[in-house]
């Protein structure tokens, strides 16, 4: 590992510049509990808040895997089990992955990448974050109220969601509406920041790839989340006011709900993985010491995924009585997402090829992401085929598949990104040995937990069940052991993150010798990101480039960084 170069730009000598909004903002750690307008504070608020919900969601997963360690329903009551699985899905999607990969890293990194001092709408940004804790508390509190939390799954299909206890379901809707609102505010902010706040002279095609990923993601958020919001409002009318939008007893149509729901919730998959693709595109070149391969095709493939992602929703409904032409269209559209996605993976492999790869924790998690996501992508293409899907739809095969995408894909990238940017967040390095232990436990536990679920699904175990055929016991127990390992894996991570904040090696401003703009300032960065002008980085991936090819006249930020052999 490259050690810290004592930078000639340590901010400790001078007083912190005043916060942009005046003198009422608290200083020090209290900032993180305040209505701060600093994008870096908000980013870390998202990140830490997300991790708290991740541990809650993980505990709920622990309940599920404990229940499924035996074929009979013997650990929790059956309706509690359904509440647990509903909360697990909702917490993990809406309170952990979406806020962290979008809000967390997006808020921290995007202003750096475009050369801005903050997001376009700092106040809206703070509002977007502060919608999340109350929404999360609302969701959790419903568990303790009469009737308990929602128990119709995170999909909340009517008529089940209309017939289960109303209070929990309505609070679930309210919570998801708040979180959707937060997501939309964030999306608008990212689009405005990326398109309108770029430093003069910085062209769109010179932006780091994460900006493109966030631009695509935010377009999806802004286009599809309102549909979910409208749908859930109609559903709440059905529950509270006994309207009949989705209630077949009153002439409603349950399949319409599914179309509307998946119109958001399939793009939601890309809202969860596209930012992860962007983060990986930042991490791989730095640790492989090579330029990102095929920048332009990476950009086009992101936009291709956005376009296709909007027109594939009905592949979640192949058994819902959709007409054949619709099945055919959605099969082909879905399978074709593999093409732009494949381009990205081949480009990452080409980025690694011939590099000088540092196998640190960040890189291990990023490479494991490639392995997991390729696996999940292959099962995804198979699931897109109607005849294949008709057998495994709503089974543990699907559970295995989407955990390979969202956990093996996005969560691995979140960990990779934490190892990568922690030095920037805190000014200190994370411990490598603990990091590798964390990686090993997570990787083994994850595959042990979710790989057997594919077999279970193929052989007849449906999803969302508390009891199952005894012939499936062995593989369920293997899966539960894997879940236990995943639970244990968070311990070295937690210890590492907490202890390193105080005792970690000093990182210096740019421990990885990176070229992207967030590394061209102090660690942690000052309030308005740079003291002096923002650097103009026109080659964010210019690794291996002879020094004379970088235009030193415009790269004003480069003097902040003295690389070892430049």
């Amino acid at each position: 590992m490259t050690l810290a170069n004592p930078s000639d730009f340590q901010p400790q000598g001078q007083p912190a510049p005043p916060a942009p909004s005046g003198g009422l903002q608290p200083e020090g750690w209290l900032r993180y509990l305040s209505f701060s307008l600093d994008h870096k504070v908000i980013g870390l608020q998202y990140l830490v808040c997300g991790f708290l919900f991740y541990f809650l969601g993980g505990a709920l997963a622990g309940v599920i895997r404990t229940e499924l360690a035996s074929p009979i329903s013997d650990f929790v009551a059956r309706d509690t089990y359904n509440q647990v699985l509903t909360l697990h899905g909702t917490v993990m999607i809406f309170l952990w992955i979406v806020p962290v990969v979008n809000g967390g890293f997006g808020n921290y990194l995007i202003p750096f990448y475009v050369g801005a001092r903050d997001m376009a709408f700092p106040r809206l940004n703070a509002v977007a974050f502060w919608l999340i804790p109350p929404a999360g508390l609302l969701l959790i509190s419903s568990y303790f109220l009469q009737g308990g939390a929602a128990q119709s799954g995170w999909t909340a299909y009517p008529p089940l969601s209309i017939t289960t206890p109303a209070l929990g379901q309505v609070l679930w809707i309210l919570s998801v509406l708040l979180l959707g609102g937060s997501s939309i505010f964030g999306g608008i902010n990212f689009i405005a920041t990326i398109l309108k706040l770029r430093r003069p002279g910085l062209k769109l095609m010179q932006l780091p790839m994460y900006c493109w990923a966030m631009l695509g993601t935010s377009l999806l958020v802004v286009l599809s989340t309102p549909v979910l919001a409208g749908t859930l409002i109609l559903l709440s009318f059905d529950i509270i006011a006994h309207t009949g939008f989705f209630n077949p007893a009153l002439g409603g149509n349950v399949v319409v709900y599914q179309h509307l729901f998946w119109f958001y919730s399939h793009p939601a998959v890309y809202i969860m993985v596209l930012p992860a693709f962007g983060l990986v595109s930042e991490i791989l070149p730095i640790h492989a010491r090579k330029p990102l391969f095929g920048y332009a095709t990476m950009v086009y493939s992101i936009m291709g995924i956005v376009l296709l992602g909007l027109v594939v929703w009905a592949h979640h409904m192949f058994t819902s009585g959709t007409p054949p032409w619709m099945r055919l269209f959605f099969t082909i559209a879905t399978a074709f997402i593999a093409v732009p996605t494949g381009i990205k993976f081949f480009n990452w492999l080409a980025t690694l090829w011939g590099g000088k790869i540092a196998l640190n924790s960040a890189m291990l998690f990023a490479c494991a992401f490639i392995v997991n996501f390729v696996f999940g992508g292959i099962t995804g293409v198979a699931l897109a085929q109607v005849p294949f899907d008709i057998h495994v739809h709503d089974t543990y095969f699907v559970v295995g598949h989407f955990h390979y995408i969202v956990y093996g894909g996005t969560v691995f990238v979140i960990f990779s990104a934490v190892y990568h940017w922690y030095p920037k967040f805190t000014g200190r390095m994370l411990n490598e040995d603990l990091g590798r232990l964390h990686f090993l436990l997570t990787f083994v536990g994850f595959n042990l937990c979710f790989a057997p679920q594919h077999w279970l699904g193929l052989n007849g175990m449906p999803r969302r069940v508390a009891e199952y055929d005894p012939s499936f016991t062995t593989w369920n127990q293997v899966s539960s052991v894997g879940a236990l390992l995943m639970g244990l894996s968070t311990l070295p991570f937690l210890i590492n993150v907490v202890v390193s904040a105080y005792r970690g090696d000093r990182a210096g401003d740019n421990p990885w010798n990176a070229l992207t703009p967030e590394w061209l300032t102090s660690s942690p960065p000052p309030v308005e990101n740079w003291i002096g002008d923002a650097p103009l980085v026109t080659h964010p991936y210019g690794y291996g480039t002879p020094t004379d090819r970088i235009d030193l006249n415009v790269a004003t930020g480069r003097e902040l960084w003295v690389g070892p052999d430049r």
Partner: protein
């Protein structure tokens, strides 16, 4: 940059393809096949499994090779080669997945057609009326929507939603017709929290288990009482949601006598995991015997309640 010679690449590629084909042929992950479309499904599964294995092994092999071969040696602080792209390479790895995906899509469409999924029965344009009592009439209308009996067409054309009951989705008739000339065995399925109830219009049998003859087509007409359920028989490789307010039809031909589980695959409430039943595939004679044994004399009143026949 060390690129393996063309010969090494070719040999590796061939080994990879052979490995994928071997895995597809020899690694059995699926349960017993017990319906006429299960072997069709299994051949699709083999193809997908082989392609998936080749892609997975190839990509992961390349990744692991890169991580070992191009790892940073201690003391080496230099950068890799400044390669920013390669257009021919990009075209190749755009074209190959596109071709593979297109091939898989067309192949699975063909499989789907052979399973009867594209039958006009499911088409919006061929909506037709189903008289609850006469399944074969509806079936005939489905087979020949052009010259179905005019009453049926009339009913579907009128805007009266009560008269025209629209049948949605499911695997329909057609395609892999098994025994020509023999009409399908009609069975009505009512799904409710938390049971499947089967009703045989011929013989007026009500049963909690599904009994079907091997080698004859069965037409399952499904409706849900309360919430969405799903009818799934893993050994038949078939699943169809049972939707309240929207009748669905599933047609299949069991082939292998035996007992197989029926599983509800759509979250339907607290006892969802316990909502299971059994389908018993009989030899044709045994099925006739079962029908004879369980047929009730024509009841004086509506035979809806309390006549559950034991299997």
């Amino acid at each position: 940059m060390a690129i393996p010679s063309a010969l090494v690449t070719l040999l590796l590629g061939m080994a990879l393809v052979l490995a994928g084909l071997w895995v597809g042929e020899n690694v059995l992950l699926l349960p017993l096949d017990a319906s006429s479309n299960a072997p069709v499904y299994d051949s699709l599964f083999k193809v997908l499994f082989s392609i998936g294995t080749i892609l997975f092994l190839g990509i992961v092999g390349l990744l692991v090779f890169s991580l070992i071969r191009f790892r940073r040696r201690p003391g080496d602080r230099s950068d890799g080669a400044p390669i920013e792209g390669n257009l021919p390479l990009e075209i190749v790895w755009t074209a190959i997945p596109a071709i593979v995906v297109l091939f898989v899509g067309i192949y699975s469409y063909d499989i789907y057609e052979r399973m009867g999924g594209m039958a006009p029965l499911n088409d919006h344009s061929a909506m037709h009326a189903v008289q609850p009592a006469s399944g074969s009439a509806a079936l005939a209308a489905a087979h020949h929507p052009g010259h179905g009996d005019s009453m049926t067409m009339e009913a579907s054309a009128t805007a009266d939603p009560d008269a025209a009951k629209r049948v949605w989705g499911g695997i329909g008739v057609g395609g892999d017709a098994t025994v020509a000339g023999e009409a399908a065995v009609p069975v009505d399925l009512t799904a409710m929290q938390f049971a499947f109830i089967f009703h045989y219009p011929q013989g007026n049998i009500i049963s909690g288990e599904l009994h079907v003859p091997a080698g004859r087509q069965v037409e399952l007409r499904m409706e849900a009482r309360d919430v969405i359920h799903a009818f799934w028989v893993p050994q038949f490789r078939l699943k169809q949601d049972v939707i309240p307010g929207q009748p669905t039809v599933l047609t299949f031909t069991p082939t292998r006598p035996g007992s197989y589980p029926i599983v509800c695959a759509e979250l339907c409430g607290p006892y969802h995991g316990g909502m299971r039943s059994t389908v018993v595939v009989h030899e044709p004679e045994a099925f006739e015997a079962w029908v004879q044994q369980n047929t009730l004399p024509p009841p004086p009143t509506v035979a809806d309640s309390g006549t559950t026949a034991t299997a």
